[in-house]
Amino acid sequence: MSTPTPAISTEGLTKRYGATLALDALDLTVEPGEVYGYLGPNGAGKTTTIRLLLGLHRPSAGRAELFGVDAWGDPVRAHERVAYVAGEPFLWPAMTGGETLEFLGRLHGAVDVEYRDQLVKRFQLDTRKKVRALSKGNRQKVQLVAALATRSDLLLLDEPTTGLDPLMELAFRESITEAKERGQTVFLSSHILSEVEATCDRVGILRAGRLVDQGTLVELRHLSAQTIEVTFAGPPPKLDSLPGVEVASAGPETLRFEVAGEVGPLLDELAGQPVRSLTSRQPSLEEIFLHHYDSSDGLVDSG
């Protein structure tokens, strides 16, 4: 059996705006059914990538395909299986949310009306309100519902949860899980690690226009340390040095460890000690980035 056509594939995809290199030779493949998290700080090139994937901007070099259709050459056919949520909700102020959903749905062609009604309820959207009277988060919901209701094979989401409250973020995650269960592909651009962690199978990290790393989240975390802070009943004991464990700082009753890799050996070591409390913190996106930044010489670019 031949391998299925990837939902997204790019080859040497490059974009320059004048002297600025916004995206540098991106090679990316997202398989059908995959939920791919696209991480990067502001200005890393996430939105540029999505604009190129949608054929809204023209590649300076390389190409982008959605389900094997060239995004720049034949955008209409490429978009037939795609729904997009922009980072900023740019909608028509004088139209109500309901009218907007109807309009975008008609343009897309296929809408699961029943699912749309369900989404409207889930996201608590007032469809009678005009877009200009909606808060940013509510406008974002209009976009999200419009995109999700198409049940498109590929969802391109550009920081879709900016402006959503935690409850709505949960609703969003639920919807992504549903999409995944239906076999839809999701490309989620984000800088919120917890969101990506909760939903994505695989993650790519973009820095200054280059894909510096990609893999499952577990794989990525292995590359950087997590922080474990231990408070003891009394002064901290002297511990044997363990491979991959570093004491980052020490207080009168506390020790802070940076652990790269497994935490098991450290826990074993602590088992016999008078531990009062223990908190562990996963490396933040920033820390993973710092890690990439610090050791960028040693990393092989995937491009």
């Binding site: 809204l56 978009h79 037939e80 740019f90 102020p93 309901g98 008609r106 309100k129 005009k130």
Partner: protein
Amino acid sequence: MATGRGRHGAGPVGALARRTFRDARIRTISFAYLFAVASMLNPFSYRHTYSTLAERLAFADSFAHNKAVVLFYGRAYDLLTVGGYSAWRTGGILAILAAIFGLLAGVRALRAEEDAGRAELVLAAPVTRGTVYAGAIAGIAAGAALLWVAVLAGSVIGGLAAGGSAYLALAIVSMVPVFAGVGALASQFAPTRRMALELGGAVVVLSFLLRTIADTSGSLGWLRWATPLGWAEELRPFTGAQPLVLLLPIAASVLTLLGAWRLAARRDVGAGLLPARDSADPRLRLLSSPTAQALRRELGSLTVWLTGVGAFALIVGVISKSISSAGISPQLQREFAKLGEGSIVTPHGYLAFSFSFFVLVASLFSCSQIAAARHEESEERLETLLALPVGRRRWLTGRLALASGGAIALSLVAGLLAWLGAATQNVAPTLPRMLEAGVNCLPVAILFLGIAALAYGLAPRAAAGIAYGLVTVAFLWQLIGSLLGAPKWLVEITPFAHVASVPVQSFRAGAAAVMVAVGLLAAVAALAAFGRRDLTGA
């Protein structure tokens, strides 16, 4: 407030005034340029065309009391001196433009900023609302000062006395604070920029209509005191100045601006006193395609265009009856021909003359449609559309079709209502003849639509400026060229020179075909160019 003062020397009022001025700088500079050129050309051309007293007497006797001309340029008090003529020609038309400038500036500074949400950002700084308001007004005042200098400089270069020129400039520019006040008040009532412009625009139109009625009818002359545009006339630059009349615009400006300030200080930021209809039952008409939805969005402004053109065409038709050539020598009529207003002294000629302005209006409409398309892109809504299975060319073709449809409607409405107006007075032109006059506006409009679209395809950010600029230059080209006696071939570069004066002459099919063909070619090139470029934000 004292808190912000001193950090940047001028303090927050200065900083906000600069911001307001900078926001509007392109419009301000365009207006200033237009004001200077118009102020310079009028005295120059008058001296050139009517050099002897006898010519001036004949001109004054026949031309200035022609209702047709009064309608456009306002009432004349003295046409025997260069100053009097200039005050009439320059002042009449520039006062209207100054009013429009004031309205646009007022709404831009006091509603558009709030509409866009930027006002909140400013007000979150340690400044009071009063400071922000004062800053905005100071910025507008700086723009008005620039216009004053432009008229003064233009008039002086045109050979008028400095003192009189300064007073003429003051009369014209006095409309800016009055209508900035109108804009400021409208900005307090209307919750959106668009609605504020509509409210204020209605006041401008009403002022113009009142002036027209006062100037063209003998018995209702007192109405001149009821309209700010009438005050500008009553200031009578160069013709027995009445500087006390200045108290009226000053009082009106102070009252409207203070009133707006009182309202602004009380209401919620971002809201208007008129309720915004924030919820509505769904209307699902015109949602089936991007073009249908664009029509839905443009319906409001299209209605305004159609109503404006229709109302003006009706007036033109009604007035055409009172046009006659009695007492005008053939020699003088030849002089009028130099002004490009050849046979204005007959009802048909007057209709043809008026329709030369509708040609301009239809072309400006084309520009406005391209500007609207560009607005959709700069607001990044186009990105929302094109991320769907909607092709770029299909989208732009739809917008162009919509613009053409609008231009056709505009032309036919102009023809129909001018005919209707004339018919009520038993003036002769047949309906087909007047529809022909309407259709005669189309080829130039199509030509400029294509060119504007091409500018949009190639240089989206500059497109609207290029389009409006080209139309303005092309229109003035013929007027100025023929006034200055430029060689024929040079004058005839502009497409406006190739439009027949229907209903006096017949529709020129050949020239029309060439213009439409060039317009279509430009549109095709525009589609190609648009298909090849990145979408470009604001």
